[in-house]
Symmetry: C2
Subunit: 200 residues, 2 copies
């Protein structure tokens, strides 16, 4: 259900010639070389050999070039939420579910060093950091559904999912700033500030 519109499975028409991942990679490279704000969308398009408008067809905004890479993480995490209830709840309850989802997200990252570069870029730019709220909205929604499915009242579920998102995001940021190879310990530590409200 995650890939409802993943690939329209086009049968005819001109096939795409632009590789979004390659373009995003190029953009990250240019950001690293010349700085984020010194690199315009036009610069990126020119360097990629495409038109500015075509660039916007693949990336809704400049921030998307950076945040786009987090989609696999969010998807894997959402998947873990979905399978958690079906497989019968292990011990640890709801918080364990949140933890598993966060770890599943981390496991979905193919190249951690690229992700670290992305996150550091985000950390350096408040406007990119702010974008977390939009970029993680799907994740927030998924966590909320998981929590209400787990029996939490909607109100507590909202607070907990908001805190969960913030804590895990902070964990990623701290990991990115560190030299450690494994983000999981950061995620685990971050989730220790959460608890299910008594009486839920």
């Amino acid at each position: 259900m995650l890939s409802e519109d993943a690939k329209p499975a086009r049968t005819s028409g001109r096939p795409a010639t632009i590789d979004p991942e390659a373009v995003a990679g190029l953009a990250l490279q240019l950001f690293a070389e010349n700085g984020y704000e010194n690199t315009s969308m036009e610069d990126i398009a020119r360097e990629a050999g495409i038109g500015r408008k075509s660039l916007y067809r693949y990336f809704a905004s400049k921030a998307d070039l950076v945040w786009g890479g987090s989609e696999p993480v969010v998807e894997a995490s959402a998947l873990a939420f979905g399978s958690f209830h079906r497989e019968g709840k292990p011990d640890g309850g709801v918080l364990a579910g949140l933890r598993e989802a966060a770890i599943a997200g981390a496991a979905a990252i193919p190249d951690l060093s690229v992700t670290r570069g992305r996150l550091r870029l985000i950390a350096e730019h408040p406007e990119l950091t702010s974008h977390s709220y939009e970029s993680l909205s799907f994740q927030r929604e998924r966590a909320l559904v998981f929590l209400t499915d787990s029996g939490l009242p909607i109100s507590s579920a909202r607070f907990l999912s908001a805190a969960y998102l913030a804590a895990t995001f902070e964990a990623w940021m701290q990991w990115a700033a560190s030299p450690d190879p494994d983000p999981v310990p950061y995620l685990v530590a971050a989730l220790e500030v959460l608890q299910v409200p008594r009486g839920s």
Copy 2:
């Protein structure tokens, strides 16, 4: 120490003729009437009888017209953090301190209905919601200092302050969406999802 540059206490020169609060109020009114994105900075300036550049002198961005009103809350909250340790810790520990600060912030609001309008506007516009990260960065910093002063390890303190900010923001949003007059119960409920990590 909060008002280090509150008022330069100018001794000569032309005094200001623009009332920022009045301008922000006017802007909020225009946003309510015509929609946020349908109201340009130029529209606001024209309506306020000033130039667009003068508008930017008082408000760094369009979002500032909306978020500016939260400054008193943040300041009052920060003040509560500062006085918490001096007055000897009451019972409840660190979490009680966070709760007191959040409540102090709420108490600093002169007109709750205006704040509710602001928050609803923010809720409707993802780009404004995102701005919370920047607008609350000072609050985040303050909470972090408070937590480390309380003896928490820096790592836990970062996670907890991130979760704290997110939970209280979510509380404000839920309150704004409700018809309830008092935001405090929302804040208290939100903070129940937090805990100090065992062993801190």
